[in-house]
């Protein structure tokens, strides 16, 4: 450890306090030894109070001695200028020592005093963990307090306007930032989950809870780092943490209903309707919502995607035995065009018999229809210096329906064991039509190829998943056994009719024609059976051993029937060369061992996992040829975390991870759906290995200020890299090969500062700075040339927020990015800056004016001759009605300047590309909202 500290000290001035602290501790120990020998007569309690940096003494801190028997105050004293305090001649008995200081969290520490006790409480760092005697409780009377690892905000202490939602409340809380799109950051880190009373609210979409729930219903907001599912099962901290916000509702709001009705539209046919109802009765909770809208613009934004398409996460093992969260996120958000979306959800949660039984049922329905166009232009530079230009135009219509149902039941068998069953069923139907035309040219604008394609798609899929989890703890703290069993069956069927006409040009020769007219029927069934057993045993108070064993078997049938148009005009003649029938199986065994050392401030964790994998592919069409490969992969990892104090943490991680080539990379199924893109297998692929180092420091305080630094370096050895070759007709052949990739380095710094009482009364604000630098290398293999390119990327994005309660909220977030890319073929640089700002003003007569603007500037550079500046400006005027402001009318105008173009462009080491899609131009919408709430 010492070595480690010295290393850090030399490299970074940030960690200087650690050494100082060590020095002070030594000094103090000597000092206290001397003093205790002098006054060794009557009892005596003493200590030293320091501020949260652990360096400055706190004078005038209150040290109160409270009798344990009846919790009355015996006496109180103040710390001296030196931060020291002493209490003598205390009546023997059990006491709590309460140490308080304005603006700081309380300390409460239990002590037993005897006639001759000489208690030295040592250094007491306010706001930090302090463990000298068995029991420590940190308590506070403040609006913000730290309880264990949880930061708690008492909602009533933060004023919000009447009828405000939770999002508005979160904006008021120091240390929490809410972005324009509703995403939340707490202490500089992204919040991944928002829970309501400890339960997921519909799903992992934070905005459903924060936008629909009313601030008035909230008692407390809790912010904490949730351990990974793996850590919960094994008790071993794997360093993976998700910032989580839990919204604790007031007792009287747990019996009642609240909901929202929204209807909006305009004369041009845009509409947006939403209805939402929640009913709570003690531990029983039922929620329902339905939305119907065609104003979601180009594809779906991140939020909409999770709002409309994701569902309750389910934990499954991947092939290397790692537990991963499966979001059931469907790929349909990539559909271009203007979707109209109908979505509905039903949820029922109940807990009974002292929460021993817990039942959760979910149903989601999504219907999505869209039609649109997109166009794409790119320029690619080949290693021989020649150029390839590609242009394409695509129109599509798409329709799909998804039904998802899930249920989970957990039962606390006794105080030690717990069992949980989970099922998930999904059906999906989709229908689509697309047509595209593509042209490619060489550098002298001579045509290389032309292609026209029409496609009709029809697909349906069914998924059935079931899982069983069992966990048992023992009287011995830390001993834990857990097991899980997962079985899934997924079926996917798809028919695709393609009509393709290709033309290849070769100098002066007449063009070669090639047309394809076929029906493809794809059928894929996958069965997975996986299990995992975990055993944790504490070897000593601070050492925990964990042994695990997991296995997984996947059997998959994939077949494709390609049918050509027969003489009868029907698709009934089978094309054998394009049809296939494969049986793919993957079996893996995953033993693992991990060791955790943990004392009050230091956590160290070493893990070694082994993955024994067998891949088998059988071609059932061509005389049962089969191939089989065995792999042995290692997954070492190492984690250290050091708490400098309760609110300051330093951590270092190393993660080694092997990745096995997939069946598709070793030997892809034959596929000719795109004549200009052919994939070949490489049976000689070896597993790749990824080394990842991370060093991070974070600090926060109760005022909401936080500081985070994170440095990351990784390199992939034997990376499975795509190799492409482009022929004279711009036809691409692709294959995977092993290569060592260049290393990647990145650093990210975030600092948030809260400012209270800015000028006006009730005014507050915060400033947050994020800076990032990244240096990454990438490798392109084109026509057998390895082209290494290096990218440098600097970014700076501060954020300013200013609030006056009941008057205005203002937020401004610029972001500046400068990137360079350098390879043997190209050298590019790019600068862009974006400014987002939102303003909400509370006017008289219950009127609210809200406006936000997004300005995107990309100055002209060598690669793009014209600068690209887009200003998107939206505004809405709201009027609230009725006594409790349940009614609301809103007039909103989107893209006032009509600058939305649906255009984007990007640069890579081998050229650049630009694309355009259809979009919704300026529109206005008039909506009526009715919020209802009732207690019973």
């Amino acid at each position: 450890m010492c070595l480690f500290h010295t290393f850090i000290f030399q490299t970074n001035p940030l960690y200087q306090p650690i050494l100082q602290q060590v020095k002070t501790i030594v000094l103090f120990c000597i000092l206290s030894l001397v003093t205790t020998t002098i006054f060794a007569q009557k009892n005596n309690i003493k200590g030293l109070v320091l501020d949260s940096t652990g360096k400055k003494p706190l004078s005038y801190a209150i040290i109160a001695l409270i009798k344990k028997s009846d919790s009355t105050l015996l006496l109180s004293t103040r710390s001296l200028l030196s931060g020291q305090f002493a209490i003598d001649k205390v009546k023997p008995g059990n006491y709590s020592v309460l140490i308080t200081y304005p603006q700081m969290a309380d300390f409460l520490l239990d002590i037993a005093v005897q006639d001759t006790s000489q208690l030295d409480l040592g250094k007491i760092v306010m706001n930090s963990r302090f463990q000298v005697l068995q029991e420590v409780i940190v308590r506070s009377a403040k609006a913000i307090r730290m309880h264990g690892d949880t930061l708690k905000y008492r909602a009533d202490s933060f004023a919000v306007s009447a009828g405000a939602n939770v999002e508005e409340l979160l904006r008021r809380l120091p240390g929490i930032e809410v972005n324009f799109d509703g995403s939340i950051r707490a202490q500089g880190k992204n919040v991944k989950r928002v829970l309501v009373d400890g339960d997921e609210f519909f799903n992992d979409d934070p905005t459903l809870a924060t936008r629909y729930l009313k601030a008035i219903a909230v008692e407390e907001i809790q912010v904490y780092d949730q351990k990974s599912e793996k850590a919960k099962l094994t008790g071993i901290d794997d360093g993976e943490e998700n910032k989580t916000i839990n919204i604790k509702l007031k007792e009287n709001y747990k019996r009642g209903l609240f909901g929202k009705l929204l209807t909006g539209g305009n004369a041009d046919g845009s509409y947006n309707h939403e209805a939402m109802l929640n009913i709570f009765r003690n531990r029983e909770k039922a929620s329902a919502f339905i939305t119907h809208s065609n104003t979601n613009g180009l594809g779906l934004s991140y939020n909409d995607r999770s709002k409309y398409l994701s569902d309750e996460s389910e934990f499954v093992q991947d092939e290397s035995g790692n537990l991963i969260g499966n979001m059931h996120l469907d790929g349909n958000y990539g559909v271009s065009g203007l979707p109209n979306i109908t979505t509905s959800g039903l949820q029922y949660i109940n807990k009974w018999k002292d929460n021993k039984h817990q039942l959760s049922l979910n149903h989601r329905y999504n219907q999505l229809g869209s039609s649109g166009w997109s166009s794409y232009n790119s320029l690619q530079i080949l290693p021989d210096g020649s150029e390839r230009k590609t242009g394409s135009y695509n129109t599509n219509t798409h329709h799909e329906q998804i039904n998802k149902g899930s249920g989970s039941y957990s039962f606390q068998i006794d105080s030690f064991s717990n069992i949980r069953a989970y099922t998930y069923i999904e059906t999906e139907r989709s229908l689509g039509k697309s047509s595209s035309s593509q042209e490619s040219k060489d550098g002298n604008d001579n045509f290389l190829s032309k292609s026209l394609q029409n496609r009709f798609n029809e697909g349906n899929s069914e998924k059935m998943h079931a899982a069983l989890f069992w966990k048992r703890s023992f009287r011995k703290i830390g001993r834990l056994v857990s097991a899980n069993l997962i079985s899934t069956y997924d079926q996917y069927r798809n028919s695709q009719l393609s009509e393709t006409d290709n033309q290849y040009f070769n100098n002066s020769l007449p063009p070669t024609l090639d047309s394809l007219n076929q029906l493809q029927k794809n059928n894929q069934n996958t069965r997975v059976l996986a299990g995992n057993i975990n055993y944790s045993e504490p070897i000593s108070k601070s050492i925990l051993l964990n042994i695990e064993y997991g296995w997984r078997s996947t059997n998959s049938e994939r077949n494709r029937d390609a049918m050509g148009r027969g003489s009868s005009g029907k698709y009934d003649s089978r094309i054998d060369s394009l049809s296939n029938d494969y049986l793919v199986s993957v079996h893996s065994h995953n033993p693992g061992i991990s060791l955790q050392y943990r004392e009050s401030k230091l956590t160290m964790n070493a893990v070694m996992k082994v993955n024994l994998l067998n891949l088998r592919q059988e071609d059932r069409l061509t005389a049962n040829t089969s191939s089989s490969r065995n792999f042995t992969n290692l997954f070492p990892s190492f984690l250290t975390r050091y708490s400098l104090s309760r609110m300051r943490n330093l951590s270092f991680n190393y993660n080694g991870r092997a990745s096995t080539p997939s069946i598709d990379q070793l030997q892809p199924l034959k596929d000719n759906s795109n004549p200009f893109y052919v994939r070949n297998g490489n049976p000689n692929l070896r597993p790749s290995f990824n080394h990842n180092f991370n060093l991070s420091f974070n600090k926060l305080n109760l005022k909401g200020n936080s500081f985070n630094v994170s440095m990351n370096w990784y390199q992939i050895r034997n990376a499975i890299t795509s190799q492409q070759s482009i022929d004279q007709f711009n036809k691409t052949t692709q294959q995977f090969v092993n290569r060592d990739l260049p290393g990647n380095f990145s650093i990210w710094i975030n600092q948030t500062i809260n400012i209270k009482n800015l000028g006006a009364k009730n005014a507050s604000g915060y400033i947050s700075f994020s800076m990032g630098y990244g240096n990454s290398g990438s490798l392109y293999i084109l026509n057998n040339n390895d082209i290494t390119s290096r990218q440098n990327r600097w970014s700076f994005s501060p954020m300013f927020s200013y609030n006056i309660t009941g008057k205005l909220n203002w937020q401004y977030q610029p972001s500046f990015t400068y990137s360079t890319s350098r390879s043997a073929l190209t050298k590019t640089q790019n600068f862009n800056h974006q400014h987002t700002s939102s303003l909400k003003i509370f006017l008289p007569w219950k009127l609210e004016l809200q406006t936000d603007v997004v300005m995107y500037f990309q100055p002209a550079n060598r690669d793009f001759g014209n600068s690209r500046n887009v200003i998107k400006w939206n505004a809405s005027l709201n009027k609230k009605f009725f006594k409790h402001q349940q009614g609301e009318m809103a007039l909103s105008v989107f893209d006032i300047l009509n600058q939305n173009t649906g255009y984007s462009r990007s640069i890579s080491g081998l050229g650049f590309s630009e694309s355009a899609e259809n979009f919704i131009p300026r529109y206005g919408i008039l909506s009526f909202i009715w919020n209802l709430s009732k207690n019973f």
Partner: protein, 253 residues
């Protein structure tokens, strides 16, 4: 890389902004006492309800507490306000309380109806239980505590951590800071600090009061009050009970 160190260092420097807290041992605090007269009467004589209709509910009086370390003087500020003709409301029209917690001595001057008394005593003991609630009073964040004295009477107090002296209005003391709000359900009264003056503290006025009066013991005072009330009382009032509660208020409050 040097650039990065500079940035990191800069961030740390920005971050290390510490809170400067003002602590003080001298102050002059003005309290406003708000009593619910109707409630007070009802507590003592429940049968009076119909007589109360013409009576104002609240009466407001003001006091000044001058503090220097552990010595305080608490004096009523004379008001012109004429509230009611009721013979109960003018009872605590003049009040001086000198306390020296260093030596454990209090000297009080009280006017009981038409006579002034002076008596010496020791500060009473109060059992405090510190609570979690925090409220802002006169610009100070104050923490709640519940006090119990004379075995059964309860008060609620809010004390400021920034004001070091362990004192408060009406002789209440012993909390880790100065009490800025005091509420007595039994007296239906609330004392709230309206002004905390740290600049002009008349320390030289913190002296034991000396008036021409009888220095009485606890028991003597109790008897005297009972007699006074009996002389003044009418049939509808339980004068014994009122005298008893008044004694309690004089002796401690």
């Amino acid at each position: 890389m040097k650039k990065h160190y500079l940035t990191v260092g800069l961030c740390v420097a920005v971050f290390l902004n510490c809170v400067a807290q003002e602590f003080t041992t001298k102050a002059s605090i003005t309290y406003e006492k708000k009593e619910n007269i109707q409630k007070q009467i009802l507590i003592n004589t429940p049968g009076m309800k119909e007589h109360l209709q013409n009576m104002p509910t609240d009466r407001i009086t003001r006091y000044e507490l001058t503090i220097s370390g552990n010595k305080t003087i608490y004096r009523s500020i004379p008001t012109q306000q004429r509230v009611s003709n009721s013979n109960i409301t003018f009872l605590d029209s003049k009040k001086i309380l000198y306390s020296d917690y260093n030596v454990g001595k209090t000297v009080a001057v009280r006017s009981v109806i038409d006579e002034e008394f002076i008596f010496e005593s020791t500060p009473g003991t109060i059992e405090w239980r510190i609570q979690d609630e925090v409220r802002e009073i006169a610009g100070y964040n104050c923490r709640k505590a519940i006090g119990r004295f004379l075995d059964s009477a309860y008060v609620v107090a809010f004390y400021a951590e920034e004001l070091i002296p362990q004192v408060g209005p009406e002789g209440f003391h012993g909390l880790p800071g100065t009490i800025l709000l005091l509420a007595s359900p039994r007296m239906a009264a609330v004392w709230t600090a309206t002004k905390v003056d740290l600049a002009q503290v008349k320390e030289d006025e913190i002296l034991p009061p000396s008036i021409k009066g009888k220095n009485l013991s606890k028991e003597e005072l109790k008897k005297k009050i009972k007699k006074k009330f009996a002389d003044f009382g009418n049939r509808e009032l339980d004068t014994d009970k009122i005298a008893d509660s008044y004694f309690k208020s004089i002796y401690f409050l």
